[in-house]
């Protein structure tokens, strides 16, 4: 579909919501209210939101820890995001796992595990089931510039390519895998060039441009729906925060951060909408106010949810 004004404002809402929600998670972390670590997607919002916005409700999403925006676009509620962060009884994993490590089959979201690339073959298996059952759906998954060097990347993508499965993989090339820069992860200039090795298209896109990401994904999803198989997309952006909230990222050159600050995905899109006359200060303030209220309500709801009963930990290893 071509984006209407309403769609474009929705994209703006999700970009802004993602940024604000990440900020709130960091705030809770700093206040010592968070359980475990906190991971943000600051700098990656356009990739997460733009790609998920091109999905249909019936499609499957396998997001990573930088893809809060994709969770939200696919329909996840803020309440469940915070319940997961806080490990509460009412969370989607009932406190057994945290952050985005949940599954919500109703929304067709299957979260990541910490061995990020390990979910690539799993997502390929969903694409295989989709094909066997003749469903009209695609499966979208993500990996990083570090994770794409794990064997699962090759093994999963190759199987999907050979079987021409409706599978799309986005490499979020955000310049650093924890503290390791891309130059120490791969010798190739363009990670999208790997596509040729699997006999599939490999496309590089500016990962700070939400509309460009959306367009590239739309094309890739349409190809997958036609039965022509996977596409590898390299979305280039910058990880503006540390790997996690405990990482001050002092190894990242200041100049590099300054350079990418000028390409902030949210500001960039704000300028586009302002120039198109879709967004003005009043409208932006109204959306911001709405987002702040939604986040506060979600945090309050999550905070008042009870912790799981300790003895519940022994239950549910096996399915009945």
């Amino acid at each position: 579909m071509d984006l209407t004004v309403e769609h474009k404002l929705k994209v703006y809402y999700y970009l802004r919501l993602t940024r604000a929600c990440d900020d709130a998670i960091l705030r809770l972390y700093k206040q010592g209210k968070m359980v475990g670590g906190a991971y943000t997607g600051n700098g990656n919002e356009a990739t997460a939101v733009g790609s998920a916005f091109a999905l249909e409700e019936r499609d499957y999403l396998f997001p990573m820890h930088r893809d809060l925006g994709a969770h939200l676009v696919k329909g996840q509620t803020l309440r469940h995001i915070f319940l997961q962060q806080l490990g509460r009884a009412g969370s989607l994993t009932r406190g057994r796992d945290g952050t985005g490590h949940y599954a919500d089959p109703a929304l067709r979201i299957y979260g990541n595990v910490s061995h990020l690339a390990a979910m690539i073959p799993v997502a390929v298996g969903v694409a295989l089931a989709v094909r066997m059952r003749k469903e009209d759906a695609v499966v979208l998954s993500y990996i990083g510039d570090g994770g794409c060097n794990v064997g699962d990347f090759h093994e999963g993508l190759n199987m999907a390519a050979v079987m021409k499965l409706p599978f799309i993989l986005i490499i979020e090339n955000n310049q650093f895998a924890y503290s390791t820069p891309t130059a120490k992860q791969h010798a190739a200039d363009r990670l999208a060039d790997r596509g040729a090795g699997y006999g599939i298209p490999g496309v590089t896109v500016d990962g700070t441009d939400v509309l460009a990401v959306y367009e590239v994904c739309r094309t890739a999803f349409a190809r997958a729906r036609r039965g022509e198989g996977p596409t590898l997309i390299e979305s280039v952006s910058m990880r503006m925060h540390g790997h996690s909230a405990s990482d001050d990222a002092s190894y990242v050159p200041r100049a590099l951060l300054d350079e990418w600050k000028g390409k902030d995905p949210l500001e960039r899109y704000t300028r586009v909408l302002t120039e198109e006359g879709i967004l003005d200060g009043a409208r932006a303030a109204e959306i911001e106010g709405r987002i702040d209220r939604e986040i506060e309500e979600a945090i309050t709801a999550a905070m008042t949810d009870p912790n799981p009963a300790p003895e519940d930990a022994a239950e549910g290893v096996f399915a009945p």
Binding site: R96, A118, G125, G316
Partner: protein, 325 residues
């Protein structure tokens, strides 16, 4: 009732479940038109077609991982590892993803991973693995280990119907060496239940897989030559263990020998011995003894392999020593 080999019975179990349930499919290397390295899936491709008998790329991680994905959305994959040894390449998918899925996500994960297991075929260090202890330690995986054609079919049907990942040990040594009666009517063998293979009141031997047959042979010799009657128990399932049966048969004779083909250190026998020590100590008349392979890789040359793996003589000698304790 038909008489069939162990491998024919396994295949029969898969075939019947595929006939019953369209969500069941097979995936593995060379399992299609070729019928698999051991021909376990001979004829399946021709009957069920390429969509349900999938020749996979050479990647255990992708085969097991794709099985996890398909199972997550309601399919019932049966994945073949060409040899149990190669499951190391799919280990991450089984341990990190499959085993933890229900605990974390409360979703069923009905999948079977078939492992042609064990030695006695001169396969050397990379075609003789007994991998059960690697998985036995992992919460969330079931493990079955049939020793007869009847159980091979019955456990295969149960494994495919189970809503959890099931590691299915198939003993290559038994594939075509043993035959048995297999009913035509639908039946299953419950996962988690062992079976008494030979009654006896003097000592108890607990075992599974190929060594069930060696133990039964040793028990006959022991009866003939020493007049000692050994009770022989076939565990059939390793996870969950049939704790109730293990404790019952241990208390009945007070002298227990555990036999497995896998090497001794960190093997399943150690856990069984600990269970007996914990809960049946007052019934014991002797220390719990174990027979297993030496703590070496399984070597290639026949005299070396025979030296390393348990056999009838080694089992007989341990039974004799225990009976005289």
């Amino acid at each position: 009732m038909a008489t069939m080999t162990y491998i024919e019975a396994l295949a029969r179990g898969m075939w019947e479940e595929m006939e019953n349930d369209p969500s069941v499919f097979l995936i593995g290397e060379d399992i299609g038109a070729y019928g698999g390295a051991f021909k376990a899936t001979k004829g399946f491709f021709q009957h069920f077609g390429a969509d349900r008998v999938i020749d996979a790329t050479l990647s255990e991680a992708a085969i097991v991982g794709a099985s996890v994905g398909a199972a997550l959305v309601g399919m019932r994959p049966v994945a073949e590892m060409q040899f149990a040894d190669f499951v190391t390449c799919g280990f991450n998918q089984l341990v990190v993803n499959a085993a933890k899925t229900h605990y974390r996500w409360h979703l069923p994960l009905p999948m079977v991973v078939r492992l042609p297991t064990g030695g006695y075929i001169h396969g050397g260090p990379y075609h003789s693995a007994s991998p059960e202890a690697w998985f036995f330690h992992v919460p969330g995986l079931k493990i079955v280990a049939p020793s007869t054609p009847y159980d091979a079919k019955g456990l295969m049907r149960s494994a495919i119907r189970d809503n959890n990942p099931v590691v299915f040990l198939e003993f290559k040594y038994l594939y075509r060496r043993i035959k048995g009666d297999v009913p035509d009517h639908p039946y299953t063998v419950e996962i988690g239940k062992g079976a008494l293979r030979r009654p006896g009141s003097d000592i108890t031997v607990i075992t599974y897989g190929s060594t069930v047959h060696f133990t039964l042979e040793a028990a006959e010799t022991l009866s003939r030559e020493d007049g000692v009657e050994a009770m022989v128990v076939d565990l059939r399932s390793l996870a969950p263990l049939d704790r109730e049966l293990i404790l019952k048969v241990s208390r009945e004779t007070g002298k227990v020998l555990i036999v497995h083909e896998d090497n001794l250190t960190g093997g399943i026998g150690g856990e069984i011995a600990a269970l007996i020590a914990d809960e049946a100590f007052s019934s014991l008349d002797a220390p719990v003894r174990r027979v297993g392979a030496l703590d070496t890789p399984v070597p290639f040359s026949p005299p070396l392999e025979e030296y390393v793996l348990p056999d009838v003589q080694k089992i007989l000698s341990a039974m004799r020593s225990l009976s005289r304790y």
